[in-house]
Amino acid sequence: MQTARPGSTIALRLAAIVVGLGALLAIVFLLSKNGQVSTQLFNGLVLGAFYAIVALGLSLIMNLTGTINMAHGSFMTLSGYLAFAMVSRGTNFWFALIVAPLMTVIVGVLVERTLIRPLYQKEPIYSLLLTFGLSLMAEEIYHIIWGANGVPFSPPPSLAGTVGLGFMSFPAFRLFIALVLLLMIAAIALFLTRTRFGLRLRAAVQDSEMIAALGTNTQVLYMVNFALGIFLAGVAGVLAAGLLGLNPTSGNTLLMPAFVTVIIGGMGSLFGSIVGGVLVGLATSLTTLWIPAASEVAMYALMAIVLTIRPRGLFGEEGLFG
């Protein structure tokens, strides 16, 4: 009886995101006389896009299989290290940006097929504990291979400068990151709304009995879905390595904000993850400006406020990807 939301609604929402982000950027420009505030706003948006993309991957995996992937940050870190290993051996950055996430996906799929799959029928606590254990092991393995301290991983020279856009100039790498993440968000939305596989995925998330009716192989669906989530984490991992540094725990530091993003956006809502990410990013970076000591707590305060007003998160009550 319950039917999938028509694609047009999602396109509308997508347009709303773009307009909303545009409006936010406009505010950045308008406030650009106060350089500090506008810089922080812009940084907050970039950070928010990171949170959104990590949260999207988490949400996809969580919604379909009930797995809270505690190793999500470890996959990001892995992708970053793989890119670092390639670039430091002379590989082109752009090549590494594509290949490192794909290699990470291979590792991810192996983990999913061998370790996580047996747990799908069990309560979510088991896959949560398993991925938690994996993340502990991964952290130590990175530590052994690449050392406890961070490794230098900088963006290519072509992205090193700044780009002037009207009133203010942006660091080129941040602008590039914002662009890539935005493209990825758009691509995933299109994938879920416009392709047969994406539609099946959404249908499966809403009603697992429907997969059988659609004649889709559940296991393939789980695998591709997991791969998709890990790919998002992988790309974010490479970009984050260039922007925020790379050490054995660097991916994990993005995990908690991504959880908060999922909660604020409302579990199960793709749209919510995007809005939530931007809100968390902005809250964090603006608090850094005014009350640096409270920068981590800010997102939790935001979460508490949102949950008080809307107990299921901002978009939690709507259809799963609506």
Binding site: L129, G133, I263, E296, Y300, L307
Partner: protein, 337 residues
């Protein structure tokens, strides 16, 4: 639990624990480590109440444990209270923390509960981490172990003295826990774990039960945390981190969730194992991680759970076919009205 083998086990375990100060040197384990096991177990039991009996994944119980530690530590450092007062204040701090975050958690189930408990637990971690002036921040906070506080009995407990005090608290807690889970209230919690919709359609406000379970759980964790703080004379933020919560949950699953003694078994393996491994290698985190993986894949019912299942007195299994991922509408419907 019927009497017979289980009562025998109970008596055996208590005797073993009572002899621990004499036995532990034989395996080159300091009594403070055994002491740590008992306090760790209190936290694991608090997680077990939610996980094994109520069916909620508690990933923020380290925050309550840490609130106990900081509550005791801060009151010793700034108000110079005695041992008993510090214990009570630490426990009260955890209860207070649960009263604040409980309302946010109480309507959530499944992974949503897990996520929220992680997130709200981290709030306390960051407060301890950032309020450097008061808490010492990342470096942690030292404080002296206070006098016991019983008049005419002016002593500070050390070594096995402290251990026996802990043991008394521990045995009392186990007894209280057993009475609780076998009480009508505890049985209702078990029913909620099995089928919350039906509990509500028997006219019971399940949220009320869950809320009280969270408060009791936090209080137990806080009690353990307060004593843990005074055992080490130290409090540090990582105690409240979600990794610590994960270790508590692991200990529950490892020993056997939904059993009385499972958390003790799991905690003993975890704490003593970690102590031994870390004396050989600083890569202990790999072993702990592998322990998680092995436990989940190898014996998901836990050691005690598997043994009990073999002898027919199956504990509450945690492997329902239909995982309660998100929240059922029957519960959701509540907060409109």
């Amino acid at each position: 639990m019927r009497f017979g083998p289980t009562r025998l086990i109970t008596v055996g375990v208590v005797i073993l624990l009572a002899l621990a100060p004499f036995l532990s040197p034989l395996i080159h384990v300091d009594i403070s480590i055994v002491n740590e096991v008992l306090l760790f177990t209190l936290a694991a039991m608090s997680a077990n109440l939610l996980l094994g009996y109520t069916g909620l994944p508690p990933f923020g119980n380290a925050a309550f444990f840490g609130l106990g530690t900081y509550g005791a530590g801060l009151s010793i450092k700034y108000f110079h209270v005695n041992f008993i007062e510090a214990t009570l204040l630490g426990t009260a701090a955890a209860l207070l923390g649960a009263l604040v975050v409980g309302p946010f958690l109480v309507r959530r189930r499944g992974i949503y509960f897990g996520l929220l408990s992680i997130a709200f637990g981290q709030v306390f971690y960051f407060i301890a981490y950032r309020f450097t002036d008061v808490t010492g921040g990342e470096d942690g906070m030292n404080f002296a172990r206070p006098y016991l506080g019983i008049s005419n009995f002016h002593v500070t407990l050390h070594g096995s003295g402290f251990y026996y005090l802990t043991l008394v608290v521990f045995v009392a807690s186990i007894l209280a826990f057993k009475l609780l889970v076998e009480s009508p209230f505890g049985r209702t919690l078990v029913a909620i774990r099995q089928n919350e919709v039906r509990v509500r359609y028997l006219g019971l406000d399940s949220n009320r039960f869950v809320f009280v379970a969270i408060l009791i759980s936090a209080t137990m964790a806080g009690l353990g945390g307060a004593l843990f703080g005074m055992l080490n004379n130290f409090a540090w933020p990582l105690l409240m981190d979600w990794h610590q919560s994960g270790d508590f949950v692991l200990s529950v699953i490892l020993g056997g969730s939904g059993t009385i003694w499972g958390p003790l078994l799991g905690s003993a393996i975890y704490v003593i194992g970690k102590d031994i491994i870390s004396s050989y290698t600083n890569l202990w985190q790999i072993f702990i991680g592998a322990l998680f993986v092995a436990c989940v894949l190898g014996f998901p019912r836990g050691i005690l759970g598997s043994i009990l299942a073999r002898f027919g007195t199956a504990p509450l299994s945690n492997e329902s076919e239909e995982a309660n991922w998100t929240q059922s509408p029957a519960i959701a419907a509540d907060h409109h009205g």
